[in-house]
């Protein structure tokens, strides 16, 4: 018996898998052990990513985070499934981000490397 994952966890799982399957992307996170916490401001759902030893895994978002992302759930799901680029929501305030500039830039970069033009 399996229980379907919620949309946010499903999107994060897909995002993690794309990085883990790509040797080039794994090299780009080889020095970057981080936790990412995603908080959906509408549904209250929380989930996260853990980057460790060039591998990305999905978490429940309970750990202390290096990067915090806050937005409505459809936007978070869209970002991690490649339907929405994070740049514009970040610039117009729909996506609130807390973390170092370098970490935020790397996360943005990874998503563009997966789904950019």
């Amino acid at each position: 018996l399996s229980v379907a994952a919620d949309p946010l966890t499903e999107a994060l799982t897909g995002f993690a898998a794309r990085i883990n399957e790509d040797a080039r992307l794994r090299q780009m996170i080889s020095d970057w052990d981080r936790t990412v916490r995603c908080v959906a401001t509408d549904s209250g759902r929380v989930a996260g990513l853990k980057v460790e030893a060039s591998q990305v895994s999905v978490t429940g978002g309970g750990e202390a985070e290096d990067i915090l992302l806050e937005a409505v759930e459809p936007l978070l799901v869209g970002m991690f499934s490649g339907e929405v680029s994070p740049t514009e929501p970040y610039m117009d305030g729909r996506l609130r981000v807390r973390g170092t500039q370098e970490d935020v830039l790397r996360l943005d970069f990874l998503s563009l490397m997966i789904w950019g033009e």
Binding site: D31, E88, L105, R106, M113
Partner: protein, 319 residues
């Protein structure tokens, strides 16, 4: 191109101001005569304050002959595609009368010449290892290095985003650029390039092995400085703008030769944006369009006797 004259035939002084997102500590003004024209050239740093830069451009519009933008680009060309940076476009559009230029045309012209010069001297050539700290802001230089057969590490990811991934081919660089630049071009320039006080932080030598392996370090000086290691013994640095302090830094680290893509005026090399603004002022514009044709710009630069400058470094000379 004949240069500027007034009705009476006497050349008038052309006024060029570079508005830079960099530190105001580097501000300076010089008077130079080039191509039979007198220039007053001034740099105004705004310490990373984009709103102040916009206000400065607005205030200068119609009052000077050309405005250069330092510390950020308006457009980036990567092969056949041109990406417009939001912050650069915002500053360009703050002027409606005076041309605002970012130096991209000059970089595409003079940096190719600088590479050709180093090839002629035998410093660059097939298999020579080069660290090009950033190529997306100077794709012409990257193409010239690639064309010369150099073994180039393009450090764009390392030097702008801290990502430990050396790019080793122009094709991979272009592929990544086409993926990321449509979105990254919308980000504040301060996220992508050191501006204001960030230009003066002590270097973080985390990418030292790439400097050590290379015979030539090329690219933007602020990025070269960002991760500068303690030693550069025997190496050649090919860059754009340097101050006397920068030159001393390089000499203290054992750097053997400094090639600046723009000439040294009054003791320092001026940014490509300044040189491009001088060219625009001298030519009275290059007609419609955001950038002059390479041939037209090249002709004006020749008239102004502007080209790369090369010097051997040693500590007694710069102390």
């Amino acid at each position: 191109v004949t240069g500027p004259t007034e009705a009476a035939g006497a050349p008038r002084t052309l006024r060029v101001v570079s508005v830079s997102l960099g530190s105001s500590r580097r501000d300076h003004a010089v008077r130079v005569v080039r191509g039979g024209a007198r220039f007053e050239v001034e740099r105004r740093g705004v310490d990373g304050d984009l709103a102040a830069a916009e206000a400065a451009v607005r205030a200068l519009d119609g009052r000077v002959d050309a405005i250069g933008l330092g510390g950020l680009d308006i457009t980036l060309r990567v092969r056949d595609r041109v990406f417009t940076l939001s912050d650069g476009a915002r500053l360009r559009d703050a002027a409606s009368i005076t041309p605002v230029v970012d130096g991209g045309g000059v970089k595409d012209t003079l940096e190719r010449r600088a590479v050709e010069g180093l090839v002629a001297e035998g410093i660059l050539g097939p298999g020579v290892e080069v660290l090009c700290v950033s190529a997306l802001d100077r794709f012409g230089m990257a193409e010239a290095l690639d064309g010369a057969g150099c073994a180039v590490v393009y450090g764009d990811l390392m030097f702008t985003a801290g990502i430990p991934y050396p790019i080793r081919s122009l094709d991979e660089l272009a592929e990544m650029a086409h993926r990321i630049l449509p979105q990254f071009a919308k980000l504040p320039i301060s996220m992508l390039y050191p501006v204001g006080a960030a230009q003066e932080r002590p270097p973080d030598p985390r990418f030292a092995p790439y400097y050590e392996r290379a015979a030539v370090i090329a690219g933007d000086f602020h990025l070269i400085r960002r991760h500068l290691p303690d030693r550069l013994d025997g190496k050649t640095v090919l860059t754009n703008t340097t101050t006397a302090e920068d030159v001393r830094w390089l000499a203290e680290r054992g750097c053997a030769r400094l090639v600046t893509t723009t000439p040294v005026l009054e003791g320092r090399s001026f940014g490509a944006n300044v040189i491009e603004a001088m060219a625009w002022a001298y030519a009275g514009g290059f007609g419609p369009g955001a950038a002059p044709a390479a041939e037209a710009l090249s002709t004006v630069l020749d008239r102004l006797a502007i080209g790369p400058a090369s010097r051997t470094l040693s500590l007694p000379e710069v102390s």
